[in-house]
C-alpha cells in the first residue's frame, strides 16, 4: 500500500478527476460522433461524488439493467475505467453503429455485444488518449471486457476500488443526444500511486 491515504486525498483529488473527466468525455463524444458519421450533442458532464448507498438511485436503481465496458489502465499510470450505458440506450447506439441492422428484441445478440464492446473500446480509448496528451504520461488501455447486468453489480467493481480510500464514488455522467437522448457514464479510477503522478505531471504539488 502507498503511504497516501484518503485524508491526504482531499478536494484536489476530486477537482483533478473532474477536470480530467470533462476533457476525456468531450473527446470520447467526438470519437463517437465520427464513428456514427453524424453530429452528436453533449450535455455538460455532471460530476457527482456519491455515497455508496446513493449510487444505485443516481442511475435509475440498483436493478436497472445496464451494459458495462470495463478496461484496465496500464503504462505510466495504472487503474481502471468503466463505461456504462443503460440497456435501451445501448440498444439504440448499437443499432446506429450497425446501420439499422440490429436485432429488434430486448436481448443482445452476440454481434451486438461485440459491436458494443468495440464502441466502448473506441470511446474509452479517446478518453484515455486525451488524458495522456494532457499529462504527457503513457497510458495504455487493456482490451475491454463487457457485461450486461444490474447497475449495482457492475458498479460494485469501481466502488470497491474507491472503497479502499473512502466511502464515496466519483462518477462523471455524460449525456449525449442525437435524435434521442442517450445516457452514458464514465468512471475513471486511478490507483493512488497514479494519482500522485497525474498531479505531478499537471504541475500540482503533491
Amino acid at each position: 500500500m502507498s503511504d497516501l491515504s484518503l485524508s491526504d486525498v482531499t478536494q484536489n483529488y476530486y477537482d483533478v478527476l473532474k477536470e480530467i473527466g470533462n476533457i476525456g468525455a468531450g473527446n470520447a463524444m467526438t470519437a463517437l460522433s465520427q464513428m456514427l458519421g453524424c453530429k452528436i450533442d453533449m450535455g455538460v458532464p455532471q460530476v457527482d461524488l456519491l455515497d455508496f448507498s446513493d449510487v444505485g438511485t443516481a442511475i435509475g436503481g440498483e436493478e436497472q439493467i445496464m451494459v458495462g465496458v470495463f478496461l484496465g489502465v496500464e503504462g505510466d499510470i495504472t487503474g481502471s475505467m468503466l463505461f456504462l450505458v443503460e440497456q435501451k440506450s445501448a440498444k439504440y447506439l448499437i443499432n446506429k453503429v450497425m446501420m439499422g441492422m440490429g436485432d429488434p428484441g430486448e436481448e443482445f445478440t452476440e454481434m451486438e455485444l461485440s459491436a458494443m464492446q468495440e464502441v466502448g473500446n473506441i470511446i474509452t480509448g479517446a478518453y484515455l488518449n486525451s488524458l495522456s496528451t494532457l499529462t504527457n504520461l503513457k497510458i495504455y488501455p487493456s482490451p475491454p471486457a463487457l457485461t450486461v447486468d444490474m447497475a449495482g453489480a457492475i458498479l460494485s467493481v469501481p466502488a470497491i476500488e474507491f472503497g479502499i480510500y473512502g466511502d464515496q464514488i466519483l462518477m462523471i455522467q455524460s449525456k449525449f443526444f442525437d435524435e434521442v437522448q442517450i445516457d452514458g457514464y464514465f468512471i475513471l479510477v486511478p490507483d493512488v500511486e497514479s494519482y500522485k503522478k497525474i498531479l505531478t505531471s499537471l504541475g500540482l504539488p503533491v
Binding site: M1, S5, L6, S7, F52, S53, V55, G56, G61, E62, E63, I65, G68, F70, L71, G72, E74, S80, S142, P143, A145, L146, T147, V148, D149, M150, A151, G152, A153, I154, L155, S156, V157, A159, I160, E161, G163, I164, Y165, G166, D167
Partner: protein, 160 residues
C-alpha cells in the same frame, strides 16, 4: 403488515419476522444473512472488501468482511440473538469482468474467502451459499423461515 428492509452497499441492518431484508445488485460484494434459528432474529450485511486491517481508512465497519460480521452479530444480540444459535447463508462474490491484467478484480473471490474464514472463527455454520461466477445478484432474506431468495438477470429465481 410485513415490510422489506433495504440494505445498501457497505451497509448492514437487523431484521425481525415477519419482515424481510434485501440488498440489490450484489456484484463482487457479499451479502451475509445471519439468523438465530431459535428466536428468528435476523440480519443482513453487504460487505465490499475482505480485510479491514490492511486499509488505513476504516470508519465504516460494514464495508469489511471481518468487522461487518462482528458488528451485525453485535446488533442482533441486542435483539436477543445468541451466537451459538446463529447460522449463516451467503451470496455474491462474483467476478463481474474477466480481465487477467487486473489482479484485484478477483476481489469477489477474496471476499467470499474472508467471509467464510470469519464465520468459521466465530463458530457460525454456513447452511447454504450461492457465490462466485460472473453475474450480479439481488437477494431477499426472510428470518421467519430462513429462506434466502436469489435473483439474477436472465436466470430463474432460486431459494437457498
Amino acid at each position: 403488515m410485513s415490510e422489506i428492509i433495504k440494505v445498501g452497499m457497505a451497509d448492514l441492518k437487523t431484521c425481525l419476522p415477519p419482515n424481510g431484508i434485501t440488498t440489490l445488485g450484489l456484484g463482487s460484494c457479499v451479502g451475509i444473512a445471519l439468523r438465530d434459528k431459535n428466536n428468528k432474529v435476523g440480519g443482513l450485511a453487504h460487505i465490499m472488501l475482505p480485510d479491514s486491517t490492511v486499509i488505513a481508512n476504516q470508519t465504516n465497519v460494514a464495508k469489511f468482511a471481518d468487522t461487518g460480521i462482528v458488528e451485525l452479530l453485535k446488533q442482533m444480540e441486542k435483539f436477543g440473538a445468541v451466537r451459538r444459535n446463529v447460522v449463516a447463508k451467503i451470496a455474491g462474490g462474483a467476478t463481474m469482468f474477466a480481465l487477467s491484467s487486473r489482479t484485484n478484480l478477483n476481489v469477489g473471490e477474496r471476499n467470499v474467502e474472508a467471509v467464510k474464514a470469519k464465520l468459521k472463527e466465530l463458530g457460525i455454520p454456513i447452511l447454504a451459499e450461492d457465490t462466485g461466477l460472473n453475474f450480479g445478484r439481488t437477494v431477499v432474506f426472510y428470518p421467519e423461515t430462513g429462506d434466502y431468495v436469489i435473483k439474477a438477470v436472465g436466470k430463474p429465481e432460486k431459494v437457498i
